[in-house]
């Protein structure tokens, strides 16, 4: 049972194509596994259809129809057809099965890297995005993350395990969003390690100098 979903305005942004690659990646990872959000997204696509219907018509060129038929007859591939993307490479093995395969197409991962006791991360490169700001986090059972606030917004999709950050408990399938007003300290439950997919558009602000130092050389903080 999923308890935490992306806000409607995020689903609308995804439906209307206005969400950047990094955020879109994490929200999509949620939607792929959430029936409730699939339906909401479908509703926003339908609203998009109504918006299209309500658009002020603009006359097409006089020979537009003839040109369109010529394109059809020529059988030319649509110029903007989505080209086949290579299979994902470099991802930690357990994450390949945790993430929907069609989302990973063309993406590049990296092996787990140690960032602190019981904490590992793996950055994700997304095609067409110079800097995706998306990464995977793996935290050992019972481990407490350093207390931090956020310079910007953070999206998290829980892929396995669960944590509690004082605001709520988050289980596999849940989505969480934090902004600069939230300071939290996620504690992974004892039941197992927790793997999350996260997007971060600005560095975390750690309260302790040790975490700050660690973050600086792993790229979590500037």
């Amino acid at each position: 049972m999923i308890h935490h979903h992306p806000a409607d305005h995020h689903l609308l942004a995804l439906a209307s194509g206005q969400m950047d690659s990094g955020r879109g990646f994490v929200v999509s990872a949620h939607v792929e596994t959430c029936r409730v959000c699939q339906r909401r997204l479908q509703e926003f696509l339908a609203v998009g259809g109504e918006v299209l219907q309500a658009s002020e018509p603009v006359n097409v060129s006089a020979d537009a129809f003839a040109q369109t038929l010529r394109r059809i007859d020529a059988g030319l591939p649509a110029a903007a057809a989505i080209t086949a993307t290579p299979t994902p490479v470099g991802f930690p093995r357990e994450c390949v099965t945790l993430l929907p395969s069609r989302l990973l197409q063309g993406c590049t991962g990296q092996p787990w890297r140690w960032i602190g006791p019981g904490m590992r991360y793996s950055a994700i490169e997304i095609p067409h995005a110079a800097q995706s700001n998306v990464f995977l986090l793996k935290i050992a059972p019972g481990r407490t993350m350093p207390r931090h606030s956020h310079g910007g917004c953070e999206f998290t999709q829980i892929l396995s395990g669960s944590f509690n950050d004082g605001r709520a408990r988050f289980d596999a399938g849940d989505f969480d969003e934090t902004d600069p007003h939230v300071t939290h300290q996620p504690v992974v439950t004892d039941e197992g390690e927790c793997i999350c997919l996260a997007y971060l558009d600005a560095p975390l602000r750690f309260e302790s100098w040790v975490a700050r130092a660690a973050a600086r050389w792993t790229g979590f903080q500037n």
């Binding site: 409607d8 305005h9 609308l12 995804l14 439906a15 209307s16 194509g17 206005q18 969400m19 950047d20 690659s21 955020r23 879109g24 990646f25 999509s28 792929e32 029936r35 699939q38 339906r39 997204l41 479908q42 509703e43 696509l45 339908a46 609203v47 998009g48 259809g49 109504e50 918006v51 299209l52 219907q53 309500a54 658009s55 002020e56 018509p57 603009v58 006359n59 097409v60 060129s61 006089a62 537009a64 129809f65 003839a66 040109q67 369109t68 038929l69 394109r71 059809i72 649509a78 110029a79 903007a80 989505i82 069609r102 989302l103 063309g106 997304i126 095609p127 067409h128 995005a129």
Partner: protein, 200 residues
């Protein structure tokens, strides 16, 4: 082949008529049906793209591409899962995203366009065959949209266009951009409230 595209005088076909036209294209490669679809859809698609920020040439090109894809993908369209306008919206939207990507347009872009198109085409997301958005729910949605106060309906529409459009509105109305954005959020919340008020 000359075609009078007189959008102002043409009575737009209803949702059912659009479905019949797409079905005729899918089953028989019916060019007359396709011409009718073109008349009904092309000027709207172009208007939508212009409002999204496409310049006239790009809007014209992508409108034609959209209709080419309507022709090619007609047999994949399933009326029990989505309306024609929803389907066409996702096609046009995906072409626009790819265009932005190619031209490194500052509007940043998801790579999930392909699977969103699938969602609208629409392969069942789960094994159960129940559509995500059945005809009844779609009718409800149209009724809810029609019942929104005009300013809110306008704000919901605005949500489908980018920051450039929002800034333009803010300047025109002489209000801060933040106010435009919060009006949009409130309108989305009102839409959700009305949508879920009556569960079908």
């Amino acid at each position: 082949m000359a075609l009078a595209v007189d959008v102002l005088n043409a009575a737009p076909p209803g949702a059912d008529e659009l479905v019949a036209l797409v079905t005729a294209v899918a089953r028989h490669g019916d060019r007359a049906a396709f011409a009718a679809l073109f008349r009904a859809l092309a000027p709207r698609v172009k208007g939508f793209l212009v409002r999204s920020g496409a310049d006239a040439g790009v809007a014209e090109d992508l409108t034609q591409e959209t209709l080419v894809l309507v022709w090619r993908k007609a047999s994949a369209f399933d009326a029990s899962r989505a309306g024609v306008s929803t389907w066409v919206f996702t096609i046009a939207r995906n072409l626009w995203i790819d265009q932005c990507r190619r031209s490194l347009h500052p509007a940043a872009l998801p790579q999930q366009s392909a699977w969103l198109a699938d969602l609208a085409d629409c392969a069942p997301a789960n094994d159960d065959d129940e559509p995500l958005l059945g005809e009844q729910r779609r009718q409800h949605l149209r009724a809810v949209l029609a019942s929104l106060p005009p300013e809110q309906a306008e704000a919901v529409q605005l949500a489908y266009f980018n920051d450039v459009t929002h800034e333009h509105i803010a300047t025109t109305l002489g209000i801060p951009l933040g106010t435009v954005k919060s009006r949009i959020r409130l309108a989305i919340a009102a839409l959700r409230q009305r949508l879920d008020g009556i569960e079908l």
